[in-house]
Assembly symmetry: C2
Homo-oligomer: 206 residues x 2
C-alpha cells in the first residue's frame, strides 16, 4: 500500500505521513484510536482514511509496518557480545516508549491476519518480528564474518527478543523492567554468547 502506489505524488504521500503521525500521537496519548479521531488530527477527511486503510486494524497494520519494518542500522561495536548488548538495550528502550509499546500491543491484538481481510499488506505483528529477525541475522552474519561462533537467529529471538517484548507487553511489575534493564540484558547476552559461563554466575534461586 504505502510502498507501491499507483500515484505516489506529493499529495498522497503527505496524507500518508500525516495519518501515520496522527496514529502514533494518539497512541502515545493513550486515547482510544478511532478513524475519525485520526483523520481529524491528521487534517484529512475520515472518508479518505476509510478508503485507503479500510478500518482501524488496517491502519495500525500499515503504521506498524513502516515503524518496525524499516530495518534501521544495527550497532557495530566490533564484537558479537557488544552488538547484541547494544541492540538489546535499544530494544528495551524502544519497547519502553509509549508509542512503540502501544503500536506493539495493537499489532498483537490485531493478530496475524484477520480472516475477513482478503489479502492486505503483511500483518503488523509478523512484520515487526521479521524486522527484528533480519536485524538479528545481520548482527550474527557480521559476527560470523569476524570468525566468532554465533548462535542461530531463532535462539536470539527466543532468549533475547522474547523476554524483552513479553515484559514490555505484559507490563511486569516495576522493579524488573525499570531498574535492572541493563543487568537483565547483560545476563541474557552472556548466556547467549557463551552458555557455559552462565553456570558460574547463576545464583541458586533466592
Amino acid at each position: 500500500m504505502t510502498p507501491t502506489m499507483a500515484r505516489p505524488g506529493g499529495r498522497s504521500a503527505k496524507v500518508t505521513a500525516a495519518v501515520h503521525r496522527a496514529v502514533v500521537d494518539l497512541l502515545a496519548a493513550g486515547e482510544p484510536l478511532t478513524v475519525p479521531q485520526v483523520a481529524a488530527r491528521a487534517g484529512v477527511n475520515a472518508t479518505s482514511v476509510y478508503r485507503r486503510w479500510g478500518d482501524v486494524a488496517g491502519l495500525l497494520a500499515d503504521t506498524a509496518l513502516v515503524r518496525f519494518g524499516t530495518s534501521s542500522a544495527v550497532p557495530d561495536t566490533g564484537s558479537l557480545r557488544g552488538d547484541l548488548l547494544a541492540w538489546g538495550a535499544a530494544l528495551v528502550e524502544e519497547a519502553g516508549r509509549p508509542e512503540e509499546l502501544a503500536l506493539l500491543r495493537a499489532a498483537v491484538a490485531a493478530g496475524p491476519a484477520d480472516p475477513g481481510a482478503p489479502e492486505r499488506v503483511e500483518s503488523a505483528c509478523s512484520a515487526c518480528l521479521v524486522g527484528r529477525s533480519s536485524q538479528a541475522e545481520t548482527i550474527l552474519a557480521t559476527a560470523q564474518a569476524r570468525g566468532e561462533q554465533a548462535p542461530s537467529p531463532t535462539r536470539v529471538l527466543d532468549h533475547l527478543v522474547a523476554p524483552i517484548y513479553l515484559r514490555a507487553l505484559f507490563g511486569l511489575p516495576a522493579p524488573a523492567v525499570e531498574v535492572l534493564v541493563d543487568l537483565l540484558v547483560d545476563r541474557l547476552v552472556d548466556r547467549l554468547v557463551d552458555p557455559a559461563t552462565a553456570r558460574a554466575t547463576s545464583s541458586p534461586r533466592r
Copy 2:
C-alpha cells in the same frame, strides 16, 4: 467482582458463567467482541453486562482473570526437568487453543491498566502472568525440596514462558510453532536445567 459479590445467589452466578462462556465462545469463533453480541449469546440483557463490567475491556479482564488466574495443578513427574517439560508442553498446547490465544491477545491489548478505570480488578495480562509465575514457583520449590538445583522463577519466565507466549502472540510462520514444539520445549528446558549441556547440542548457525 466475581470473588466478593454482595449477593452471590444462584442467579448472578448463572449470569456470570453464561457471559464468561459467551466471551470465550465468541473469541474462539474469531468474531468481533461487542457487549450486545456477548449478551445475546449468553441469553442475558445487554444492560446487565454494561452495569456489571462497564465495557468490553472490563469484561475481558474479568474473563481472563478467572481463566488464567485460577492456579491449576502443576505436573509432578519426579524431576525438575520432567516437570518443566510437561508444564511447557501444556503451555504450548494452551497457547495454541483459539480461545486462550484470543484471550491472551485481548489481555495484552487492554494493557496493564487503563487510566480511565478507577480501581477495577487486577489487570488481565498481569493476572495471567502472575498465575504462571506462581505455578513456576511451585515447580521450583518442589524441585528444591527434592534437593535439585533450581533456577530462579524469573529465568523460567524469561526463557521458557516468554518464547512460548511470544511465538503464540505474534503467530510466527508455521514451521517453528507447529512442527517443532516438542523439540523446542525440550531444548529450552535442557538449557534451563543445565546450561552447560547446551553448548554440545547447539548447532553453529545454519
